[in-house]
């Protein structure tokens, strides 16, 4: 099981351990955890609701993982993305990548996050003192994803 889209929280330590369990060729595990911040665009955020496109979400994440596996030599990849209502401090997303050496695992982990940010169909609705508002996509996310197109790695 490589990709999960779920309402429930996840166990980061267990996920990281699972990426190398019984696989002694793994020398490097790079991971990323994204969390709900209590500030966004200058407003305080009390909570947020993550909407997604069931079916397409899983497909898009699996496709991103496949691209990473085609690009780097990896031993294991795990992506978990939550949906529903989340509060500040709650985990949103986990990406873990296992490989032989650190360079490729760092690159693949960041690649997956950058692509996820621009291609996986999730949308954040934030609760602020001024009411609920949909988060606008950031240009910086597009440019973060675009640099992988130019890169020869």
């Amino acid at each position: 099981m490589t990709v999960s889209v779920q309402a429930e929280d996840f166990d980061v330590g267990a996920e990281i351990s699972a990426l190398s369990a019984g696989r002694h060729e793994v020398g490097a595990v790079a991971t990323f955890v994204g969390l709900v911040r209590d500030v966004s665009g200058g407003s305080s955020v009390g909570a947020m609701t993550l909407e997604h496109y069931p079916g397409m979400t899983e497909k898009s994440l699996e496709e991103i993982v496949e691209q990473a596996c085609a690009r780097w030599s990896l031993y294991g990849v795990r992506v978990i993305h939550r949906f529903g209502r989340l509060e500040p401090g709650d985990r949103i997303v986990f990406v873990g990548v296992a490989g032989a050496h650190r360079g490729e695992t760092f690159a693949a982990c960041e690649f997956i996050m950058d692509y996820l940010k621009t291609r996986a169909p999730f949308w954040k609705l934030e609760e602020t003192p001024a009411g609920a508002r949909w988060v606008d996509a950031r240009d910086s996310d597009d440019s973060a994803a675009a640099r992988w197109e130019q890169s020869s790695r």
Binding site: V93, K117, T118, A120, P121, A137, R138
Partner: protein, 84 residues
Amino acid sequence: MTVKILYFASLKDALGCTEESFVLPSGVSTVGELRSFLADRGEKWKALGEGRNVRAARNQRMAAPADPVLPGDEIAFFPPVTGG
């Protein structure tokens, strides 16, 4: 000759619609043509109009305006994604 159309996030709110079954009119054979046709249905549908930052998916994969629309397809329109 129908397609299923889904709307998400701020676009869903602007249109007041999450899903519709839509009979493809003649002359509508691509994702871009479908979007233009829908945008012309009335005031609130301008949220789908040119110049609006709307993305599309066909059968749950990101789609370009030139991609074909065929009977039975599931087409989705939504704003740029903001997960992660």
